[in-house]
Amino acid sequence: MIFPDVSWAAIAPEIALVAGAVAILLVDVQWKPEPRVLGGIVALSVVAAAVLSVGQWFRLDTPSDITIPFGGMIAFDRVSVLARFVLLAVTAMGVAGGWRLFERLGRRAAEALALVLLATVGFSFMASSIHLVMIFLGLEVGSISLYVLAGITRERPDSDEAAMKYFLLGSFASAVFIYGVALLFAGTGRLALLGQRAFLDANIVTRPAVLLIGMALVIVGLGFKVSAAPFHTWAPDVYQGAPAGVVGFMAAGAKIGGFAALTRILFTGFPLMADEWASVVAIISALSMGIGVVLALVQDDVRRMLAYSGVAHAGFILTGVVAGAAAEPGIWFYLAAYTIQLVAGFAIVAAVTGSAAGRSGLDAFAGLAVRSPFLAAAFTVTLLGMAGIPLTSGFVAKFGVFVSAWQAGFSWLVIVAVLASVVAFGVYLRVIVVMYMREPGEAASPTPSTAARWMLVAATVSTILFGVLPQPLLDLARNAFSV
């Protein structure tokens, strides 16, 4: 009997996170501590995972250094480490930004925090697996945790409505994804991505219909997860209904996991069929950008606005995906820049309209510049970053993927993209106008928690820093890839 090659080093960070989740649940049962203590455990396990990831990074000598332990299910390479860095940053910032929510949850805080960690584990596995079934498992671990998190404030009707919509459409997407996997398996006889690539290398597929349908379904399934149009319909409702404190993490985590899996599948498994999938992805990308920005423009709820802008951002990232593996550093820079802004944006929404509440009308932000200059400034930087104004990380990110797309010959897509970014300016400016140029009403001055305050400082600084000096982060991203 052959035992699969076990490499604890490859999954050490995930083990740390799972240990953290289990510890939270056990500690909570035994001692019923303050949420603050549980937050400490989260911090501890996230830091441990980060340290272990740093260790992994240095253990892997070169970008092309890749081993595939666990019978070829996990890829131990710098790509997965990089993805995990971004994911851990988002997790830490998400928990810090939504800390008020966990405090309010009281006894249920343990549950929520454990779910946050488990979702992180799931998405982390999505990024580090190189086997379709393993990707599916990561996807489900992450998604199912998020379904529950969306409804964690279950006494509010719009929260459990959000949970149900997320659940139904999310599992529908998962089913579509796994059916695509099954068809890819039927077409190639392999489930490991490298195996599929080798198969396509060695064989000429005479009847590619099954393969093509399978690939289309995989793209559609992941398109749901990253909320690309036309599979985005769940996003606005879920972002609006779920408690503000976790939406940032939910949205960012799902985007990271989804794009990690999508790029891994397309670039590692099926680079030879790039002609087929690139045009499909390009169309999805154009649709996402167009639909995202136009619908974002007409929203009166900041969260729905952020949801639709998230659709547009999925489109922008997909412009990098169409360019193929050469664009991967750019895609990851974009994901890092955008997800940090996303988490920061929702932390501000949570601070302004209440971390457990659903919906966040634009009116709640009127005159925020007077009521809380700090929050208004942080939100402005965040929104300008999302808009991609130069000297913010958002600009460098957009620029990077656009250059890749143009180099790959998709100049029409780049033109659509730059026009969409102009419309997107209008989206974000509306919020800035309301914050700076409308008189504050009766509303009180919102005060973010200390954790959220620090997290926002970090997010704002990183948005500007990586906008002015993108080189270190870009180099880091490039060092993860052998391009």
Partner: protein, 511 residues
């Protein structure tokens, strides 16, 4: 040196931001004092500048993001030098003129200083990526300046301003990416370096597309008719300092961009499209002048006069002659000085009367003789009275464009007459006659501070009017180099009288 120029306003903004909240009266004076540092630097720059050199000076370079060929590369030539000095002069003046700003003064000063940094950045950038970064980044402070401290319809104006200019620059971004990718195809590595991109071999049709993408961005900025509709709104709503910088410097980004990038990167397309631009420029000159005549609002009148004046600059630029190009550059500076001064003057009267309607005034010359004197002086400068700066610029443009675009030059000459009509007629209605309205009879004349604000502009107007050589000598080599490049890369030849600029300058001085 140039890096310091960009950094000092940023540092200044940080200093102002850190001033204690208890001492709001400090913000403006400190801001003015801090903005004198870049002015001093610009002065040093001007006098250290090696006259007679065509190329870029004070070059500085640092790798920014190597794999994409993006570097931090700055330098100054004769074209940008004047604009830098103009910016450095106008910022302290407009700050000093902003005492009527009564809320959120600190933020106001911060935004103005950041705007200044961005403007310096645009003018010194020699890497297209860097240029675009600054080009876009200046939208943000300007947007806030209009949107927070503007008039009644400020939000509408601010958003319109932002989106209009953003549309143009978005396509320019696509074109910049296209250039870098073509560089990668032709040499193996992408580059955004201006000098590298000049060496590209572009087919005429590619040139035309890219010219259009760059041109749209700049045409909106200028603004060239029919893309000008954002301008009156933005000007009318903006606070005085905003208007001064908008008209004085921001509009020049468009004409500067045409001159710096369109003419040099896409010479063939430039030659092909001269007629289109010339038609639009002339339409803008006449249209702006006519609309200005019928404006009931002083500020709007000055705003539309900008459309007309900028038309001259565009016409001169696309005349592709020494006179036209030099006149265009000179006129950029002149327009910044005179229109800036006119906006200041309108702002001063607005602070007193809280109206800008021409009909509300009358006979002000009796009540405020000093003010009337300044206004008349600046109006004359703007019309182009010989001996004042506007004359040199417009004269050079007209003579220069007569060599290649005679018909357009003749039509444009009517624009000069229109300028006289709208400005002098406005002067007549506002200042002459008897002050019959009781509100007007009690107006106070200019204070010492206000005179001190206007005085430097008057001096510069006189200097440039009487001795333009000080600037022309620095400009000429750079514009000649552009013409040389066009002649070398296309079969266009500048007609013989077109390259004899110095003769015209001498003549201009003589009158």
């Amino acid at each position: 040196m140039l890096t310091w120029l960009i950094l000092t306003p940023v540092v200044g903004a940080a200093v102002v931001a850190l001033l204690p909240r208890r001492r709001p009266e400090l913000y403006l004076p400190v801001g003015v004092a801090l903005s004198l540092i870049p002015l001093a630097l610009a002065g040093v720059l001007f006098f250290e500048f090696e006259t007679g050199e065509a190329g870029f000076q004070f070059l500085q370079q640092a790798l920014w993001y190597e794999p994409l060929g993006i570097s931090y590369r700055v330098g100054v030539d004769g074209i940008s030098l004047g604009l830098i000095v103009l910016t450095a002069v106008l910022v302290p003046i407009s700050l000093a003129a902003s005492t009527s700003i009564d809320r959120r003064v600190k933020e106001f000063v911060v935004y103005i200083l950041l705007l200044e940094a961005g403007l310096f950045g645009v003018f010194v950038a020699l890497d297209l990526f860097l240029f675009f970064v600054f080009f876009e980044a200046i939208l943000v402070p300007m947007y806030f300046i209009i949107g927070i401290w503007g008039g009644e319809r400020r939000i509408y104006a601010a958003v319109k301003f932002f989106l209009y200019t953003a549309v143009g620059s978005a396509l320019m971004l696509a074109a910049i990416i296209a250039l870098a990718v073509m560089h990668a195809r032709q040499t193996g590595a992408p580059s955004f370096d201006f000098a590298d991109l000049l060496a590209l071999d572009l087919s005429p049709s590619t040139q035309r597309w890219l010219f259009a993408a760059f041109g749209l961005a700049f045409a909106i900025k200028v603004p060239i008719f029919p893309l000008h509709t954002w301008l009156p709104d933005a000007h009318v709503e903006a606070p005085t300092a905003g208007s001064v910088l908008l008209a004085g410097v921001l509009l020049k980004l468009g004409t500067y961009g045409f001159l710096r990038f369109n003419l040099t990167l896409f010479p063939q397309a430039t030659v092909d499209l001269v007629t289109v631009l010339a038609v639009l420029a002339v339409v803008g000159i006449i249209y702006g002048g006519l609309v200005a005549i019928v404006q009931p609002d002083l500020k709007k009148l000055v705003a539309y006069s900008s459309v007309s004046h900028l038309g001259f600059i565009v016409l001169g630029t696309f005349a592709l002659t020494s006179g036209g190009l030099q006149g265009g550059v000179i006129q950029m500076i002149n327009h910044g000085l005179t229109t800036g001064a006119l906006f200041l003057l309108v702002g001063m009267i607005y602070e007193r009367r809280h109206t800008k309607k021409i009909a509300d005034f009358g006979g002000l010359a009796k009540v405020m003789p000093v003010y009337a004197g300044f206004f008349l002086f600046m109006a004359f400068a703007s019309i182009g009275l010989p001996g004042l700066n506007g004359f040199i610029g417009e004269f050079l443009v007209l003579v220069g464009s007569f060599a290649t675009l005679p018909v357009y030059a003749v039509i444009a000459a009517f624009g000069v007459i229109l300028a006289a009509v709208y400005l002098l007629w406005a002067y007549e209605r506002v200042f002459t006659g008897v002050p019959d309205k009781p509100e007007n009879q009690r107006l106070v004349d200019l204070s010492g501070r206000e005179i001190a604000i206007l005085a430097p502009l008057v001096v510069l107007v006189l200097v440039l009017g009487l001795y333009p050589k000080v600037l022309l000598d620095k400009v000429a080599p750079s514009t000649e180099a552009i013409l040389d490049r066009i002649e070398q890369t296309t079969d266009f030849q500048v007609p013989e009288p077109g390259r004899l600029a110095d003769v015209f300058v001498a003549e201009g001085e003589g009158r």
